[in-house]
């Protein structure tokens, strides 16, 4: 199991760890049985994500992908965040071992889940915008 320097850096010094008390959207994906849970908090002004924090229970890759994903969407627009793919997170981390790709999928889903919550709070049906978020897709694949 070889992690890139970037993965180890984001694991050792994760960015944006914590909570946002007055978050505009909170999303949680994964489950403890699978060994991965990611929760993301978003602060949104207009259509810009002004702040993002995460809490993650999981392996090194789960923590590193959470950290990288929050970095990638901080300051971006909602539509940019919705377009963030797990692949982009993997590339930004200089790759992940094959068995850890599901962590990046989880990070992508955590963002979508938080945005989904944001729209729900606004009284907008999130599904046409965000799409369907599978619950711990990675586990069901196995």
């Amino acid at each position: 199991m070889l992690y890139s320097e970037k993965v180890l850096d984001h694991f050792t010094n994760p960015r944006n760890v914590g909570e946002i008390a007055d978050a505009d959207g909170v999303g949680e994906v994964g489950n403890a049985k699978c060994g991965d849970i990611m929760r993301m908090y978003l602060k949104i002004e207009g259509d810009v994500i002004t702040d993002v924090k995460f809490k993650t229970f999981g392996c090194g890759a789960a923590i590193a992908t959470s950290s990288m994903a929050t970095e990638l969407i901080k300051g971006s627009t909602i539509s940019e965040a919705l377009q963030l793919s797990n692949k982009a997170v993997v590339e930004a981390l200089d790759g992940l071992p094959t068995s850890k790709i599901h962590c990046s999928v989880l990070a992508e889903q955590a963002i979508k889940s938080a945005l989904s919550d944001y729209y729900t709070r606004q009284g907008i049906d999130p599904e046409p915008i965000v799409g369907c978020i599978a619950d711990c897709e990675a586990c069901h694949e196995h």
Binding site: F11, T12, P14, E28, K33, M38, K55, F57, C59, A138
Partner: protein, 398 residues
């Protein structure tokens, strides 16, 4: 930051000791002869093998002719199981009994045999990680060919009642194999007194190099089919030019391990007990496996709300090398089958830590682990939504 590096994963592998390396060096340099050759250089290598075979046999209390050198513990396990089952199938015996928490070298071999049409019973191990003898007795059938039960578990270190199992198998007229890879060098093993018919061992778990192991097969119990056809090495049953240096190393290592066994075991046990006591001070932690019936150097502890691989990476940053039963270290999504077999829920099994000491560890190493553990667990719990829930539940219950 002037931490030294603490190697606490001796159940994975051990460093080669100086004594072993010194014994090996001549066979990696001027002693390059093929042990099958007739001239002096060959004969010297041949005599070195004779000596190493005797050293292994002395430790197990068997005859040197009952020891077959192999490439590793997994090879020995494969040979014992597949060889015995294939041989005894001709007598209509198609049933194998093992346990649910064996090493994969046994479990995957058993699964391969099932695919061939053999039947396998997997005995449960219960919360303390030890089988019930009554389960074994109940599982025995007229067509049972072989019982294979590990001496000590590789993850939680629990030791099975091997002598009692041996007695039951002897009475039933069933072959008994034990994977003793984790036990050799740490507990005394007497294949005669314990009625063991076959036993697997691996050199690198007791300061010999990697890539060398042995299988003991009691004379008169079974003649295994050849594993490798070729030359006359290992009585023609496991052909291939011998790895003289490594075999010599294993002979010296096993002799040294048994010469110093009680002292080393007492030292490792003291370190492990101190570590367990300190680790259990951390809230929401638990020791996995029986506290007494376990290998002297093994501690396996679960910490709720953290994931094992992340824990290992953080410990690595603190200069500590250890192991985990976490799914994420195995590349699958399921946590260790061993931890699940003793009844741990998935979410707790994910957060397990295995520390395994050898005689080369020091009390200073234990200090460093004890200092690092609360720190790294605290950091991971701080960012863990699972831990947040545990804290909330605790608050609600108080």
């Amino acid at each position: 930051m002037n931490k030294h590096y603490v190697y606490a994963d001796n159940a994975a592998t051990t460093p080669i000791s100086k004594e072993v390396l010194d014994a090996m060096m001549p066979w990696l340099t001027e002693g390059y002869g093929n042990a099958s050759s007739i001239y002096a250089k060959g004969r010297e290598a041949g005599f070195a093998l004779v000596k190493a075979r005797q050293q292994v046999a002395d430790v197990l209390n068997c005859k040197p002719g009952e020891i077959y050198f192999t490439g590793c513990g997994s090879e020995s396990d494969n040979w014992a199981l597949k060889g015995a089952m294939h041989k005894l199938a001709a007598k209509g015996k198609k049933h194998l009994i093992t346990t649910v928490f064996e090493h994969h070298a046994i479990l995957h071999t058993a699964a391969a045999l099932e695919k061939e049409g053999f039947e396998v019973t997997y005995l449960p191990v219960y919360e303390n990680g030890i089988i019930h003898l009554d389960d074994l007795k109940a599982a025995l059938r007229p067509d049972t060919a072989l019982v294979s039960i590990m001496f000590a578990n590789n993850e939680i270190g629990t030791i099975q009642p091997i002598a009692e199992i041996g007695a039951i198998c002897k009475e039933a007229g069933v072959l008994f194999h034990t994977d003793a890879v984790q036990a050799i060098g740490h507990v005394r093993i007497d294949v005669k007194a314990m009625n063991i018919d076959m036993l697997s061992l691996s050199g690198h778990k007791f300061h010999a190099p990697k890539g060398v192991g042995a299988l003991y097969v009691r004379q008169g119990s079974i003649i295994l089919p050849n594993l490798i056809d070729g030359g006359g090495q290992e009585k023609g049953r496991r052909a291939g030019t011998e790895n003289v240096a490594s075999i010599v190393g294993m002979g010296v290592a096993i002799e040294a391990a048994h010469r110093d066994l009680e002292a080393n075991a007492a030292k490792a046990l003291a370190m492990r007990e101190r570590l367990i006591d300190a680790a259990l001070q951390i809230p929401h932690s638990r020791l996995n496996g029986d506290r007494v019936q376990r290998l002297p150097g093994n501690a396996n502890i679960s910490f709720e709300g953290v994931e094992g691989e992340a824990l290992l990476l953080m410990l690595d940053n603190e200069g500590v090398a250890a192991s985990s039963g976490s799914a994420c270290t195995s590349g699958s999504l399921d946590p260790s089958h061993v931890l699940l077999s003793i009844g741990l829920p998935h979410e707790i099994a994910h957060g397990s830590l295995r520390v395994s000491f050898s005689d080369m560890n020091t009390e200073e190493d234990v200090d460093q682990i004890i200092e690092a553990l609360p720190k790294v667990i605290g950091r991971l719990r701080e960012m863990s939504p699972v831990w947040e829930r545990i804290v909330q539940e605790d608050a609600a219950n108080n």
